[in-house]
Amino acid sequence: MTADSRTADRPPAALRAEALEALLTERGLVKTDVLDGFINRYVNDVGPLNGAKVVAKAWVDPDYRARLLADGTGAIKELGFGGPQGEHIVVVENTDEVHNVVVCTLCSCYPWPVLGLPPNWYKDPAYRARVVREPRALLAEMGLVVDGAVEIKVWDSSAENRYFVLPRRPAGSENLSEEELTALVSRDAMVGVADVKVAS
Protein backbone atom coordinates (compact mmCIF):
# COMPACT_ATOMS: atom_id res chain seq x y z
CA MET A 1 0.00 0.00 0.00
CA THR A 2 1.37 3.42 -0.90
CA ALA A 3 1.24 6.62 1.03
CA ASP A 4 -1.34 7.99 -1.42
CA SER A 5 -3.88 5.41 -0.43
CA ARG A 6 -3.73 6.35 3.21
CA THR A 7 -6.97 7.62 4.48
CA ALA A 8 -7.54 10.53 6.78
CA ASP A 9 -8.86 8.27 9.52
CA ARG A 10 -5.66 6.45 10.45
CA PRO A 11 -5.17 6.08 14.19
CA PRO A 12 -3.31 8.89 15.97
CA ALA A 13 0.49 8.76 15.95
CA ALA A 14 0.66 7.91 19.65
CA LEU A 15 -1.24 4.67 19.07
CA ARG A 16 0.62 3.83 15.87
CA ALA A 17 3.93 4.29 17.70
CA GLU A 18 2.78 1.96 20.46
CA ALA A 19 1.56 -0.56 17.87
CA LEU A 20 4.91 -0.43 16.04
CA GLU A 21 6.85 -1.01 19.22
CA ALA A 22 4.62 -3.95 20.18
CA LEU A 23 4.84 -5.57 16.73
CA LEU A 24 8.60 -5.16 16.40
CA THR A 25 9.23 -6.39 19.94
CA GLU A 26 7.06 -9.48 19.39
CA ARG A 27 8.92 -10.27 16.19
CA GLY A 28 12.25 -9.95 17.94
CA LEU A 29 13.34 -7.00 15.78
CA VAL A 30 13.94 -4.65 18.66
CA LYS A 31 14.97 -5.32 22.21
CA THR A 32 13.13 -3.35 24.84
CA ASP A 33 16.27 -2.84 26.90
CA VAL A 34 18.11 -1.34 23.91
CA LEU A 35 15.16 0.99 23.28
CA ASP A 36 14.97 1.99 26.95
CA GLY A 37 18.71 2.50 26.95
CA PHE A 38 18.53 5.04 24.15
CA ILE A 39 15.75 6.96 25.88
CA ASN A 40 17.57 7.02 29.20
CA ARG A 41 20.82 7.99 27.60
CA TYR A 42 19.42 10.95 25.72
CA VAL A 43 16.97 12.10 28.37
CA ASN A 44 19.28 11.77 31.35
CA ASP A 45 22.93 11.45 30.37
CA VAL A 46 23.65 13.21 27.13
CA GLY A 47 22.76 16.83 27.35
CA PRO A 48 23.99 20.39 27.08
CA LEU A 49 26.39 19.82 29.98
CA ASN A 50 28.67 17.97 27.56
CA GLY A 51 28.72 20.95 25.24
CA ALA A 52 29.28 23.33 28.15
CA LYS A 53 32.42 21.36 29.10
CA VAL A 54 33.67 21.68 25.52
CA VAL A 55 33.08 25.45 25.54
CA ALA A 56 34.73 26.01 28.92
CA LYS A 57 37.79 24.03 27.88
CA ALA A 58 38.07 26.03 24.66
CA TRP A 59 37.94 29.26 26.70
CA VAL A 60 40.80 28.27 29.02
CA ASP A 61 42.95 26.27 26.59
CA PRO A 62 43.92 28.08 23.34
CA ASP A 63 45.37 24.91 21.80
CA TYR A 64 42.13 23.04 22.42
CA ARG A 65 40.17 25.96 20.98
CA ALA A 66 42.26 25.80 17.80
CA ARG A 67 41.70 22.04 17.48
CA LEU A 68 37.97 22.51 18.14
CA LEU A 69 37.61 25.07 15.37
CA ALA A 70 39.67 22.96 12.97
CA ASP A 71 37.95 19.61 13.66
CA GLY A 72 34.87 19.81 15.87
CA THR A 73 34.07 16.11 15.98
CA GLY A 74 37.68 15.16 16.76
CA ALA A 75 38.16 17.72 19.51
CA ILE A 76 34.80 16.85 21.07
CA LYS A 77 35.78 13.18 21.04
CA GLU A 78 38.91 14.10 23.05
CA LEU A 79 36.55 14.81 25.97
CA GLY A 80 34.82 11.48 25.46
CA PHE A 81 31.71 12.73 23.68
CA GLY A 82 30.68 10.95 20.49
CA GLY A 83 28.03 8.69 18.99
CA PRO A 84 24.98 9.11 16.77
CA GLN A 85 24.55 12.56 15.18
CA GLY A 86 28.07 13.40 16.31
CA GLU A 87 29.73 13.09 12.94
CA HIS A 88 30.77 16.23 11.09
CA ILE A 89 30.29 18.72 13.91
CA VAL A 90 31.45 22.14 12.76
CA VAL A 91 32.18 24.68 15.48
CA VAL A 92 31.53 28.34 14.65
CA GLU A 93 32.95 30.98 16.95
CA ASN A 94 31.16 34.13 18.08
CA THR A 95 33.34 37.23 18.03
CA ASP A 96 32.86 40.96 18.50
CA GLU A 97 32.06 41.17 14.78
CA VAL A 98 30.00 38.02 14.15
CA HIS A 99 27.18 36.29 15.99
CA ASN A 100 26.35 32.75 14.85
CA VAL A 101 22.99 31.02 15.16
CA VAL A 102 22.10 27.47 14.13
CA VAL A 103 18.97 26.03 12.55
CA CYS A 104 18.01 22.93 10.60
CA THR A 105 15.63 24.18 7.95
CA LEU A 106 14.87 20.69 6.62
CA CYS A 107 14.12 18.82 9.82
CA SER A 108 15.98 18.82 13.11
CA CYS A 109 19.68 17.99 12.58
CA TYR A 110 21.45 18.72 15.84
CA PRO A 111 24.74 17.65 17.47
CA TRP A 112 23.35 15.11 19.97
CA PRO A 113 26.64 14.21 21.74
CA VAL A 114 27.18 17.77 22.93
CA LEU A 115 23.65 19.13 23.24
CA GLY A 116 21.39 16.12 23.76
CA LEU A 117 18.09 16.13 21.89
CA PRO A 118 16.83 19.37 20.38
CA PRO A 119 14.25 21.41 22.29
CA ASN A 120 10.80 21.75 20.78
CA TRP A 121 11.24 25.29 19.56
CA TYR A 122 14.25 24.20 17.46
CA LYS A 123 12.00 21.79 15.57
CA ASP A 124 9.17 24.26 15.14
CA PRO A 125 8.42 25.47 11.59
CA ALA A 126 8.22 29.07 12.83
CA TYR A 127 11.78 29.02 14.20
CA ARG A 128 13.09 27.17 11.13
CA ALA A 129 11.61 29.74 8.75
CA ARG A 130 12.00 32.96 10.70
CA VAL A 131 15.60 32.53 11.82
CA VAL A 132 16.58 32.51 8.16
CA ARG A 133 14.28 35.35 7.10
CA GLU A 134 14.61 37.72 10.04
CA PRO A 135 17.23 36.43 12.49
CA ARG A 136 17.77 39.74 14.26
CA ALA A 137 14.07 40.21 15.02
CA LEU A 138 13.59 36.60 16.09
CA LEU A 139 16.65 36.62 18.36
CA ALA A 140 15.41 39.82 19.97
CA GLU A 141 12.05 38.14 20.65
CA MET A 142 13.95 35.25 22.22
CA GLY A 143 15.68 37.71 24.53
CA LEU A 144 18.94 38.24 22.66
CA VAL A 145 19.44 41.73 21.24
CA VAL A 146 22.40 41.62 18.86
CA ASP A 147 24.14 44.95 18.33
CA GLY A 148 23.37 46.41 14.90
CA ALA A 149 27.07 46.53 14.06
CA VAL A 150 27.45 42.78 14.61
CA GLU A 151 26.85 40.54 11.62
CA ILE A 152 24.48 37.59 12.21
CA LYS A 153 25.39 34.37 10.41
CA VAL A 154 22.74 31.67 10.18
CA TRP A 155 24.07 28.11 9.79
CA ASP A 156 21.81 25.43 8.35
CA SER A 157 22.61 22.06 9.90
CA SER A 158 22.24 18.91 7.85
CA ALA A 159 23.47 15.33 7.83
CA GLU A 160 26.70 16.66 6.27
CA ASN A 161 27.42 19.38 8.84
CA ARG A 162 25.99 19.87 12.30
CA TYR A 163 26.85 23.28 13.65
CA PHE A 164 27.73 24.14 17.22
CA VAL A 165 28.31 27.70 18.44
CA LEU A 166 31.33 28.59 20.56
CA PRO A 167 29.93 31.58 22.50
CA ARG A 168 32.01 34.56 23.58
CA ARG A 169 33.54 34.24 27.03
CA PRO A 170 31.66 36.81 29.12
CA ALA A 171 33.28 39.87 30.62
CA GLY A 172 33.94 39.45 34.33
CA SER A 173 34.74 35.72 34.02
CA GLU A 174 38.52 36.13 34.01
CA ASN A 175 39.00 34.64 37.47
CA LEU A 176 36.62 31.71 37.11
CA SER A 177 37.82 28.11 36.92
CA GLU A 178 36.98 25.77 34.03
CA GLU A 179 34.33 24.13 36.21
CA GLU A 180 32.79 27.47 37.13
CA LEU A 181 32.78 28.51 33.48
CA THR A 182 31.06 25.23 32.53
CA ALA A 183 28.15 26.12 34.78
CA LEU A 184 27.58 29.39 32.92
CA VAL A 185 27.15 27.90 29.44
CA SER A 186 23.55 27.23 28.44
CA ARG A 187 22.14 25.04 25.68
CA ASP A 188 20.68 28.15 24.06
CA ALA A 189 24.07 29.85 23.93
CA MET A 190 25.49 26.88 22.02
CA VAL A 191 22.67 27.08 19.48
CA GLY A 192 23.24 30.83 19.25
CA VAL A 193 19.95 32.15 20.61
CA ALA A 194 21.49 33.46 23.85
CA ASP A 195 24.72 34.91 25.18
CA VAL A 196 26.70 33.65 28.15
CA LYS A 197 26.55 35.90 31.17
CA VAL A 198 28.33 35.84 34.50
CA ALA A 199 25.77 35.12 37.20
CA SER A 200 25.11 38.27 39.20
Partner: protein
Amino acid sequence: MTGAEALDAVGATALPRANGELVFDEPWESRAFGLAAALADQGLFSWRDFQTGLIAEVAADESGPGEYRYYDRWVGALESLLFQRGVVSLEDVDDRADVLCHRPAGHDHRDDEHGLHDH
Protein backbone atom coordinates in the same frame (compact mmCIF):
# COMPACT_ATOMS: atom_id res chain seq x y z
CA MET B 1 1.97 27.22 25.98
CA THR B 2 3.65 25.36 23.18
CA GLY B 3 6.78 26.43 21.35
CA ALA B 4 4.70 27.01 18.24
CA GLU B 5 2.51 29.56 19.97
CA ALA B 6 5.49 31.28 21.51
CA LEU B 7 7.13 31.57 18.10
CA ASP B 8 4.06 32.99 16.44
CA ALA B 9 4.95 36.14 14.56
CA VAL B 10 2.17 38.07 16.24
CA GLY B 11 3.08 37.31 19.83
CA ALA B 12 6.29 38.72 21.25
CA THR B 13 6.22 36.24 24.11
CA ALA B 14 9.55 34.84 25.20
CA LEU B 15 10.25 31.25 24.26
CA PRO B 16 10.61 28.46 26.82
CA ARG B 17 14.36 28.51 27.13
CA ALA B 18 15.57 26.85 30.33
CA ASN B 19 18.27 24.21 29.96
CA GLY B 20 16.06 21.79 31.79
CA GLU B 21 13.21 22.15 29.32
CA LEU B 22 11.41 18.92 28.50
CA VAL B 23 12.29 17.53 25.14
CA PHE B 24 9.21 15.32 24.89
CA ASP B 25 5.68 16.64 25.31
CA GLU B 26 4.28 13.17 25.99
CA PRO B 27 5.82 9.83 26.98
CA TRP B 28 4.92 8.11 23.70
CA GLU B 29 7.17 10.59 21.89
CA SER B 30 10.17 9.33 23.81
CA ARG B 31 9.19 5.73 22.91
CA ALA B 32 8.99 6.70 19.23
CA PHE B 33 12.39 8.33 19.47
CA GLY B 34 13.94 5.32 21.19
CA LEU B 35 12.36 2.91 18.71
CA ALA B 36 13.90 4.58 15.66
CA ALA B 37 17.28 4.95 17.40
CA ALA B 38 17.30 1.30 18.49
CA LEU B 39 16.30 -0.01 15.04
CA ALA B 40 19.05 2.02 13.38
CA ASP B 41 21.52 0.84 16.02
CA GLN B 42 20.56 -2.76 15.33
CA GLY B 43 21.06 -2.20 11.61
CA LEU B 44 17.46 -2.56 10.39
CA PHE B 45 18.02 0.68 8.48
CA SER B 46 20.65 3.38 8.38
CA TRP B 47 20.12 6.61 10.25
CA ARG B 48 20.64 8.43 6.97
CA ASP B 49 17.70 6.58 5.42
CA PHE B 50 15.49 7.48 8.34
CA GLN B 51 16.58 11.07 8.19
CA THR B 52 15.81 11.32 4.48
CA GLY B 53 12.30 10.03 5.18
CA LEU B 54 11.87 12.45 8.06
CA ILE B 55 12.84 15.39 5.88
CA ALA B 56 10.19 14.34 3.35
CA GLU B 57 7.57 13.92 6.08
CA VAL B 58 8.35 17.32 7.58
CA ALA B 59 8.23 18.94 4.15
CA ALA B 60 4.84 17.36 3.41
CA ASP B 61 3.34 18.60 6.65
CA GLU B 62 0.24 20.66 6.06
CA SER B 63 -0.88 21.37 9.59
CA GLY B 64 -1.79 24.92 10.42
CA PRO B 65 0.06 27.26 12.78
CA GLY B 66 0.24 25.82 16.26
CA GLU B 67 -0.93 22.36 15.13
CA TYR B 68 2.44 21.03 14.06
CA ARG B 69 3.39 17.86 15.89
CA TYR B 70 6.99 16.89 15.25
CA TYR B 71 6.69 13.37 16.60
CA ASP B 72 3.63 12.70 14.44
CA ARG B 73 5.94 13.28 11.49
CA TRP B 74 8.62 11.16 13.15
CA VAL B 75 6.23 8.20 13.44
CA GLY B 76 5.13 8.73 9.82
CA ALA B 77 8.73 8.57 8.62
CA LEU B 78 9.45 5.47 10.69
CA GLU B 79 6.33 3.72 9.38
CA SER B 80 7.07 4.59 5.76
CA LEU B 81 10.55 3.13 6.03
CA LEU B 82 9.30 -0.06 7.68
CA PHE B 83 6.53 -0.42 5.07
CA GLN B 84 9.04 0.03 2.24
CA ARG B 85 11.33 -2.57 3.72
CA GLY B 86 8.41 -4.95 4.19
CA VAL B 87 9.06 -5.21 7.92
CA VAL B 88 5.46 -4.43 8.84
CA SER B 89 2.42 -3.41 6.81
CA LEU B 90 0.09 -0.49 7.25
CA GLU B 91 -2.68 -2.97 8.04
CA ASP B 92 -0.56 -4.59 10.78
CA VAL B 93 -0.03 -1.24 12.43
CA ASP B 94 -3.57 0.05 12.12
CA ASP B 95 -5.09 -3.24 13.27
CA ARG B 96 -2.85 -3.30 16.32
CA ALA B 97 -3.52 0.36 17.02
CA ASP B 98 -7.22 -0.41 16.84
CA VAL B 99 -6.80 -3.16 19.42
CA LEU B 100 -4.85 -0.80 21.67
CA CYS B 101 -7.55 1.79 21.21
CA HIS B 102 -10.18 -0.58 22.54
CA ARG B 103 -8.32 -1.62 25.62
CA PRO B 104 -10.48 -2.06 28.68
CA ALA B 105 -11.15 0.89 30.93
CA GLY B 106 -8.24 1.84 33.10
CA HIS B 107 -5.94 2.46 30.18
CA ASP B 108 -5.43 6.02 29.10
CA HIS B 109 -7.51 6.82 26.02
CA ARG B 110 -6.95 10.52 26.15
CA ASP B 111 -5.14 10.70 22.77
CA ASP B 112 -7.74 8.84 20.77
CA GLU B 113 -10.19 11.58 19.88
CA HIS B 114 -7.62 14.31 19.99
CA GLY B 115 -5.42 12.65 17.39
CA LEU B 116 -8.12 12.55 14.74
CA HIS B 117 -8.14 16.31 14.53
CA ASP B 118 -4.51 16.34 13.50
CA HIS B 119 -5.26 15.28 9.95
